[in-house]
C-alpha cells in the first residue's frame, strides 16, 4: 500500500518537531501522530530540512548536554546547509514522498547518510556557532605569563622545537615560577617520535588557520625530503649552538615522558615542575581528530570571517576541541621516507656538539598499529561534541565552561 503525500508530510514534519525539542528517535522508527501536526509550509516535502541536517540534530540530541537552548541549536543546524562540496539537499526518504524519479539528489533515510556528509553539516554548524559567539581572548583567562617577572639570579632559558611539547613544557615551567627568556639562555628542545613531532607541526599550523589535510602535508614533505625547522632537531640545535654556544643547547628526548620534566628542572634549576597543559593562547594540545575538525572549520572561517578577527575565532575553535584522542602515523606510502629521515635525524643528533638527554634512536618513526588517516566517523564524533561545547560557551557569554 502506498501512503498518500499528506501522510508523508505529516510524519516528516512531526519528526522535525520531535528532533527540535531534543528527541532522538531515528526516522526509520518514527510513527507519525494521526492528527494535530502543523501543515507543512511547502506544497510538497521539498521544503523540509534535508536528511543530513536532520540526522545531525538527532545525533546531537543523543549526547550529554548542559544548559543549552537545544531548539535554538537545532534551528541553527536546520537553517543552513553543509559548506563546501558534497551532495546538495539530500531529500528525506519515505513512502509517499513526491518528486520526479531520476531528478535531484537521491532521497535517503537520514540514518544512512554517509558520515562525510554529516561531517560537513556538523562542521558548518560549529563554524557558525563560533562566529556567532562573542569572541573572548583565551589568553585573558588565568594568570598571564606576561605578568610574571623573571628573577635576575635565575638561569635564563628558551624553549624551541616541536610546538606542542614546547608549549606544554613552557606552561609547566611557568607554573613552577620559571619564566622563559634571559640573556644567553639555555635552550631546551623537546623531541619525540618522528610521527608525533610531525603531528605537532600539523596541529600548530592548523591552529594558525591552515586547511591542509594530514596526508597532503606528509606527501609534500616526503616528496621534497625535508621536515619543518621546528622538528629538524639537528639543524635547529646547530643554529642555537651558533648563537648561544653548544654547551647551552639541550635536546631532551622523551616527548610527554615525566623524565623530560626532571631533565628540564635540572637544566633550568629548581624543583621538578608539575605537568601542565599549554597556556591559553599558546599552541593547544589537540588530538589528531580534533585537529582535522579544526582544519575543516578553518575552510569555513576563511570565507566567513574578517582576517583581523580570524585568529581569535580559530583559538575559540581550538578551545572547544581540546581533549585526548588516539595518535596518527605517517601514511603507509610515506612510511619508508619517515623511517629513513628519522634514522638520519638520530644519527645527526648523536654526532651533535650539544647535549642530548635520552636515546636519539627514540626519534624513529614508530608504527604501533595506529591509524594513518582520520576517518569521517571519528571526526563526526568530535565535531558534534564541539558543537555542544560551543553552544554552552555561547550560553556562558563566550567562556568555555569547566567540567
Amino acid at each position: 500500500m502506498t501512503a498518500p503525500p499528506e501522510a508523508f508530510d505529516r510524519a516528516a514534519w512531526s519528526w522535525v518537531d520531535h528532533l527540535r525539542h531534543g528527541g532522538s528517535t531515528p526516522w526509520a522508527d518514527w510513527s507519525a501522530p494521526a492528527t494535530g501536526q502543523p501543515a507543512p509550509p511547502g506544497k510538497d516535502g521539498s521544503t523540509l530540512p534535508a536528511a543530513a541536517e536532520l540526522e545531525v540534530v538527532r545525533r546531537l540530541a543523543t549526547r550529554p548536554r548542559h544548559g543549552i537552548d537545544f531548539p535554538a541549536v537545532a534551528d541553527l543546524v536546520l537553517r543552513r546547509s553543509g559548506p563546501g562540496r558534497g551532495l546538495v539537499d539530500i531529500p528525506l526518504a519515505g513512502t509517499g514522498r513526491t518528486g520526479t524519479p531520476r531528478i535531484g539528489t537521491p532521497p535517503s533515510d537520514p540514518g544512512l547518510v554517509p558520515d562525510g556528509e554529516l561531517v560537513r553539516v556538523a562542521v558548518g554548524a560549529l563554524a557558525e556557532l563560533l562566529i556567532e559567539t562573542p569572541a573572548t581572548d583565551p589568553t585573558d583567562t588565568g594568570p598571564s605569563r606576561m605578568t610574571a617577572r623573571r628573577r635576575p639570579w635565575e638561569r635564563g632559558f628558551r624553549i624551541a622545537g616541536p610546538p606542542v611539547a614546547g608549549a606544554r613544557l613552557r606552561a609547566s615551567l611557568a607554573a613552577a615560577g620559571h619564566v622563559e627568556g634571559g640573556r644567553r639562555p639555555r635552550v631546551l628542545l623537546v623531541a619525540g617520535a618522528f610521527d608525533e613531532m610531525l603531528l605537532q607541526i600539523w596541529s600548530s599550523r592548523v591552529q594558525r588557520g591552515s586547511t591542509l589535510p594530514w596526508p597532503k602535508l606528509v606527501r609534500r614533505l616526503a616528496r621534497e625530503d625535508r621536515v619543518p625547522l621546528a622538528m629538524d632537531l639537528p639543524r635547529l640545535a646547530g643554529q642555537w649552538a651558533d648563537r648561544v654556544g653548544a654547551e647551552r643547547v639541550h635536546v631532551i628526548i622523551g616527548g610527554a615522558d615525566p623524565g623530560v620534566w626532571r631533565t628540564a628542572a635540572q637544566i633550568v634549576g629548581g624543583p621538578v615542575p608539575p605537568i601542565a597543559e599549554p597556556a591559553p593562547g599558546d599552541v593547544a594540545d589537540l588530538s589528531p581528530r580534533a585537529t582535522d575538525v579544526l582544519r575543516r572549520v578553518n575552510e569555513v572561517l576563511n570565507v566567513r570571517v574578517d582576517p583581523a578577527r580570524l585568529p581569535a575565532v580559530v583559538r575559540a575553535g581550538s578551545a572547544v576541541l581540546q581533549g585526548p584522542g588516539p595518535a596518527l602515523v605517517v601514511p603507509d606510502r610515506q612510511a619508508a621516507w619517515a623511517a629513513e629521515r628519522s634514522r638520519r635525524m638520530a644519527q645527526d643528533l648523536r654526532a651533535g656538539r650539544y647535549a642530548v638527554h635520552g636515546e636519539p634512536g627514540q626519534v624513529a618513526s614508530r608504527r604501533d598499529g595506529d591509524p594513518d588517516r582520520v576517518h569521517a566517523a571519528d571526526v563526526l564524533d568530535i565535531a558534534l561534541d564541539a558543537c555542544l561545547r560551543a553552544a554552552e560557551q555561547s550560553a556562558h557569554g563566550g567562556k568555555v565552561p569547566r567540567r
Binding site: 521544503t47 534535508a50 562540496r85 539537499d89 531528478i103 606527501r219 621534497e224 575552510e299 570565507v303 582576517p307
Partner: protein, 408 residues
C-alpha cells in the same frame, strides 16, 4: 515615480557561454548603467567571490578574498533603482538554504532567475575538461563512472550534478517565485547564427543586442582530445606543492590551455562513448519532459536540450594518439619558453632600474656629506687603536654592528 527594481540572477550552468556574457556585461557596465542596468562589479571576479561567500566554498585560497562579498553585492542591488544583473555559473550549486539567504538579502527587489543550458551530451565531456583545467588528474573513464553512479557520492559527482542538473537547479532557485520569472536560456545547436545565444541573453536582460555587440576575447575555450590528455598528465606532475595555485592559473590554465592548446585545430573533439551517450540521451528526455511541464519562460527551445541524433566519433582521451600529444607538448614548450624569455627581459630591466636607483642614492649620499662622516670615522678608529681599551671597544662595536660594517 521610481522604476520597478528588478534583479536578474544568472546562476549557470557552466560551459554555456557564461564567461563571454560576464565579460560583455563587465566591459560595458558603465554604458549599461546609463541605460538603467547595473552590473555591480569593480573587478571581473566580484560575482564569483560573492558566490564563494554565499556557499562557503573553499577555492584554492581565493575564498579568503571573498569575506563579506555577498552582502556587499546584495547591498548594491538593493540600492539600485532599476534592473541589476548578477551572473556566475557556480551559483547553480547553491542549496535551498543558501538560495533562501540570497533571496532574503535582496530585500523587496523583484527577483528573476536565469539559467542557460546546453544538451547533456555536450556538457559531460566539457565538465571533465573543466575538471582537468582545475588541476584534477581523474581519467575520463573514472569521471564517467563516477557521474553515472546514481548515488552521486564523492566531491566530483556531487559537484557535477549540483551544477549541471537543470531541472533540480531550477527547483532550488525557482520554487519560491512564479514560473514566468524563471528564464531558461537554451544554447543553440552547432551551426546556429553566431550571435543567436547573445541575442537570447540580451532579450532576457532587457538589452538591445545590436548596441552591445559581443567582441569578447574572454571565453572559456575548449581543448581537443590530445590537449586534454596532455594537461591531465601535467597536473599529475605539478600538483602537491610543485606549482602554487596562482602560478597554475597563470601558466597552465591561461597560457598553456586557453591561449596555446585551445588554438590548435584538427584535433579530435571530446565525445561520449556509446553506452554513456545512450544513457545521457535517455536522461535528457526526462529533463525535457519535466521542464516542459513547469511553465518556465524558455528563451530558445527545449529542442536545443535534445542531443543530436548523429553521434560524434568517440576518441578515448585516456589512450590518446601519442604523436598528437607530443605535438601539443612541443607547442606548449614553445609557448612557455617565449613567456620565460619575456619574463627574463622584464627581470633584466628591473635589475637595471634597481642598480640605477642604487647608484643615484649613493651619489646623493656622498654629495650630502657622506665623505665628512667617513673621514670622522677614520679618525675615531685611529684614535681607538692607539690604546688597548680603545681596541676592545672597537672590537665590541664591530661585533655588535656585524660584518656589514665598513672597515675604516
Amino acid at each position: 515615480m521610481t522604476e520597478q527594481r528588478k534583479l536578474l540572477v544568472h546562476v549557470g550552468t557552466p560551459k554555456t557561454g557564461t564567461s563571454f556574457v560576464q565579460d560583455l556585461l563587465f566591459r560595458h557596465r558603465t554604458s549599461l548603467a546609463a541605460h538603467g542596468i547595473l552590473y555591480p562589479a569593480d573587478r571581473f571576479d566580484d560575482h564569483f567571490l560573492a558566490a564563494l561567500d554565499l556557499m562557503e566554498l573553499p577555492w584554492g585560497g581565493l575564498e579568503k578574498e571573498a569575506v563579506g562579498a555577498w552582502d556587499r553585492l546584495a547591498a548594491q542591488v538593493r540600492d539600485w533603482q532599476g534592473t541589476s544583473i548578477i551572473s556566475h555559473e557556480i551559483l547553480a550549486r547553491a542549496s535551498r538554504s543558501q538560495v533562501r539567504r540570497a533571496f532574503d538579502s535582496f530585500g523587496d527587489v523583484e527577483v528573476h532567475v536565469v539559467l542557460s543550458a546546453r544538451d547533456l551530451v555536450r556538457q559531460i565531456p566539457a565538465e571533465w575538461q573543466e575538471n582537468v583545467k582545475h588541476r584534477r588528474t581523474v581519467t575520463y573513464a573514472d569521471f564517467l563512472r563516477k557521474i553515472t553512479d546514481p548515488r552521486r557520492r564523492g566531491k566530483l559527482a556531487s559537484w557535477f550534478w549540483a551544477v549541471q542538473e537543470v531541472p533540480d537547479i531550477l527547483d532550488r532557485w525557482g520554487s519560491t517565485i512564479p514560473p514566468e520569472r524563471v528564464h531558461l536560456v537554451t544554447v543553440p545547436k552547432p551551426g546556429a547564427p553566431r550571435n543567436l545565444l547573445w541575442e537570447r541573453f540580451a532579450g532576457v536582460f532587457g538589452i538591445d543586442p545590436r548596441e552591445f555587440e559581443p567582441e569578447s576575447t574572454r571565453s572559456n575555450p575548449s581543448l581537443g582530445v590530445p590537449e586534454s590528455a596532455l594537461i591531465r598528465r601535467i597536473n599529475a606532475r605539478v600538483n602537491d606543492g610543485v606549482l602554487a595555485n596562482h602560478h597554475y592559473r597563470a601558466l597552465v590554465r591561461e597560457l598553456l590551455a586557453h591561449r596555446t592548446l585551445s588554438t590548435r585545430t584538427g584535433s579530435a573533439r571530446l565525445a561520449l562513448p556509446p553506452d554513456v551517450r545512450s544513457w545521457a540521451v535517455d536522461l535528457s528526455e526526462t529533463w525535457i519532459a519535466a521542464l516542459a511541464a513547469r511553465g518556465y519562460d524558455v528563451v530558445g527551445t527545449l529542442e536545443d536540450l535534445r542531443p543530436d541524433a548523429d553521434a560524434a566519433t568517440f576518441r578515448d582521451p585516456d589512450a590518446p594518439n601519442e604523436k598528437r600529444v607530443g605535438d601539443a607538448a612541443v607547442q606548449g614548450i614553445v609557448a612557455l619558453l617565449s613567456e620565460t624569455a619575456r619574463l627574463r627581459e622584464v627581470e633584466d630591466s628591473l635589475r637595471a632600474e634597481l642598480e640605477q636607483a642604487r647608484r643615484e642614492r649613493d651619489e646623493a649620499w656622498a654629495a650630502a656629506g657622506g665623505r665628512l662622516v667617513y673621514r670622522t670615522k677614520q679618525r675615531l678608529v685611529r684614535l681607538a687603536d692607539d690604546s688597548a681599551a680603545g681596541r676592545a671597544v672597537h672590537a665590541g662595536y664591530r661585533r655588535v654592528r656585524g660584518r656589514s660594517s665598513r672597515s675604516a
